[in-house]
Amino acid sequence: MDPAEVEFLAEKELITVVPKFSFDRIYLIGGDIGPFSAGLPIDVPLWLAVNLKQRQKCRIRPPEWMDREKLQGKKQEEMDSKFFIEMPNQHYMEITQLLLKYAPDDIPHADEMRTLIKDLWDLRMAKLRSSIDTFVRSDATHAKLNHLTLMELNTVRLFLTNSLDQLYVLRSNLSGKVQATQE
């Protein structure tokens, strides 16, 4: 899967915007949005929010979890915990990325948010790598990881599946099943 595809999925997440215009309800395949009235907050999909923002037609309200204290708390929790903790949003990375790119003026402490999210990401990736390593070293046949997000999985997917294939080949040698491969 391409990261851009993961982002596409993340763009379905709802986000609150304050429109600067009034408009009737719009009917889309993905569902109805609106009606918009200037100044009244409304939930729209992320893709629409970004689009409106680019045309200067709305202000974006940062999601609740995008908050300095909350993220610092999460980071601490992530550091203290041996396992993955639940992220405030399945697509935290993608949403942060998009919002910081297109609406940095609507997010208080935008730079700090970027650093915090990046820290969280790095922590979790390091944790993911060490758990993959533990898994490969042990002779376990399956492992369960909770609370991983799609983007995190996506970056290691190809590598992990290929290594497990290789490991499977080497393991199946062990069982001593030498098949008759000739004549």
């Binding site: 851009a4 990736m125 993959i132 290929n162 490991l167 062990l174």
Partner: protein, 204 residues
């Protein structure tokens, strides 16, 4: 001929791995093939001659039914090397021990050598120990020369390294917002180059 799931008829790596040499000792006289052994002048291969055959040939002439040669273990799979690998596999240059260490080793098990079980165990262990290093280096080396990192990896490990790099590069490209820029597809670009070549040669 049945094939293992791991074998692939058209896989160039698999073909190359089966071309690795194994030391053999001739047990029955092989007539008129003396030229295979360039160190001897005789017309026939006599019993007792030591000769190296590629794996694919060795497999055909040494089996339960046909016992024309006796197959020895190549030295990189013998106990001495296995001990080195079990001491610390991360520093060993597997590429030097045979660019296809794992797949050739897997093929060798076919000969049901007494040490087969140990070789299989040693390979799993080696892979597990070296895994961490491959994963970390492939996921962290961004925009740098990777030839130093891959130098000691066997071919299978290199392909793992490449897939790790692929994931990393994809993610970095996304993070720096390069994915949303439209670029010329490689095919089109190469096509134009080829066209230009043709045009140039027409002028000459």
């Amino acid at each position: 001929m049945t094939m293992k799931a791991s074998e692939n008829y058209f896989d160039i790596d698999d073909i190359l791995a089966s071309n690795e040499r194994i030391p053999c000792r001739v047990e029955l006289p092989i007539y008129r093939l003396g030229y295979l052994d360039s160190s001897h002048e005789s017309e026939h291969l006599l019993p007792g001659t030591k000769i190296e055959f590629p794996y694919w040939l060795g497999r055909a002439v040494c089996s339960r039914r046909r016992h024309i040669v006796r197959v020895d273990l190549p030295k990189q799979y013998r106990e001495g090397y296995r001990e080195i690998l079990s001491a610390d596999a991360t520093v060993v240059d597997l590429h030097k021990l045979g660019p296809y260490y794992y797949s050739f080793g897997t093929k060798l098990l076919h000969f049901e050598h007494v040490a087969s079980a140990d070789i299989a165990k040693s390979m799993v262990k080696t892979f597990q120990t070296r895994f961490r290093k491959i994963m970390d280096s492939s996921q962290n080396a961004y925009n740098e020369d990777t030839s130093k990192l891959t130098e000691k990896l066997d071919e299978a490990e290199r392909s793992l390294f490449r897939s790790g790099q692929f994931g990393l590069h994809d993610f970095q490209r996304w993070e720096t917002r390069k994915t949303e820029k439209l670029t010329t597809s490689n095919m089109v670009r190469n096509h134009q180059k080829r066209k230009r070549n043709v045009m140039d040669s027409n002028v000459d």
